[in-house]
């Protein structure tokens, strides 16, 4: 469970988030909606420990996530293993020499044994239809293929929380349909899924809860519980 308590965030005195108090519960799919610049990406950065609130508290499973605690490598590793984050721009997220290496990267970091890594790599390569691309370099792939690789790389680590920043951006119709179907299939896994999107259709289809933000960088709907 993720709890946000009166979170504020400023970019050099320019407000990006204001008084965000919200609880994200496990097993639900939340769609974060709102206009450009309302703070969705900033909220994602905070939830992933990439930025830290200027005020307020962020708790994951009851534990406070602070800059100081994340400086501890063991804590940071355990924290990041719990949250899978698929970036809006997959290009920056893919840095290994080929697709299978990309999927295996996080698994090696988790210290899994070789056989388990091999098994999981094969599982996600098949699940995401990546078999013909397995030896290809990620940056030579199409947008949809890159997105699938990024999803595979994150999901292979089996995080209980999954965050997707604009998962359909830059994809053609078929690609969008494929990704939407795939995310829908993930809903039955009991993971907490948070999706940031402008796509109403996707939000209507997937969201258990619509979380709307406004230009004043606040959550307006549903009201803070």
């Amino acid at each position: 469970m993720i709890q946000l308590e009166h979170i504020d965030y400023d970019y050099q005195e320019i407000p990006a988030l204001r008084d965000i108090t919200y609880t994200f519960e496990m097993g639900k799919c939340y769609c974060l909606e709102g206009p450009n610049g309302c703070g969705k990406s900033t909220l994602f950065r905070i939830l992933n420990g990439l930025a830290f609130p200027t005020a307020g508290r962020y708790l994951l499973g009851g534990e406070a996530i602070t800059e100081k605690r994340l400086r501890d490598d063991a804590f940071a590793k355990a924290f990041h293993a719990k949250i899978g984050y698929v970036f809006q721009n997959s290009e920056v997220q893919l840095f290994c020499k080929n697709v299978e290496d990309e999927i295996a990267f996080g698994l090696f970091q988790l210290g899994l044994p070789e056989d388990a890594i091999r098994e999981r790599v094969e599982k996600y390569i098949n699940l995401l239809n990546l078999a013909p691309l397995r030896k290809r370099t990620p940056y030579n792939l199409s947008g949809g293929e890159k997105k699938r690789v990024a999803l595979g790389a994150v999901l292979a680590m089996d995080p209980p929380i999954l965050m997707l920043d604009e998962p359909l951006s830059g994809l053609d119709e078929d690609g969008q349909q494929w990704i939407a179907d795939f995310i829908a299939s993930l809903k039955s896994t009991g993971k907490l899924i948070i999706i940031s999107t402008h796509n109403r259709e996707l939000a209507e289809r997937l969201a258990d809860v619509h979380v709307r933000m406004d230009k004043a960088h606040r959550i307006i709907c549903p009201q803070n519980p």
């Binding site: 490598d73 721009n89 840095f95 290496d101 090696f108 970091q109 030579n140």
Partner: protein, 243 residues
Amino acid sequence: MRLNLKIMEVTGRLLKSDRENAGRKSSPVAPALRVGAAVLCILLCALSRNAVFVIAVIAVELFRLALMPPASILRVMKALILPVMFTALIMLPAVFLGHPRTMLTVTMKVLESVLVLAVMNESLDWREVTAAFSVAKGMAVFVLILDMTMRFLMILGDYSDKLLEAVMLRSVGKTNWKNAKVDGILGTTFLKSRQMAEATSEAMACRCFDGQYRSYHSHRFTWRDALFLGVYATMIALFVMTK
């Protein structure tokens, strides 16, 4: 300016090679074995004082070359001509001084070294070559950095190429501002590179990166690897016997 153009030329070549090799099947023999064998061949030939060994290596490499497609053979031959001719020319005075064998030996050694490298270059992708080094413990993280550097060079090369195209499309006739715009393109590319580097570092942190890296090798030892090893074991034996 010239340096920038040179960098863009190199990244352009890498991009072209990447696009051409996108659908290419990976090497059936483990790249690490092939790189190791190539280095060993060059080393042994340099140490060899007997032409038999050098000729044997050249024969094996020419046999492998003969099995390649015509376009690859042409590229390898092109790579060979200049260094071999140059060495022969440099060594030509040795013939007049009464040491014709010296000229022949050195030229053959150069031919062998360039041939081994050119055949390897033709049949291995550059990523397979870098991946070969990641087999060694502790080297994998350096290979990851090298691969990432190459990847960024290509992405940014592509990005600056698109910016240049945009400038070109907006330019009509001879103007001075086109040269001035190059600075702007470099500046924008620099800022983009910083943003991308930061985002990649964050993506790595999100996937629990702690500074340690192991490369994933799905390649398992096959009969092809065994055959390849067999050929090179024979060559080492030949080197020892002819010494």
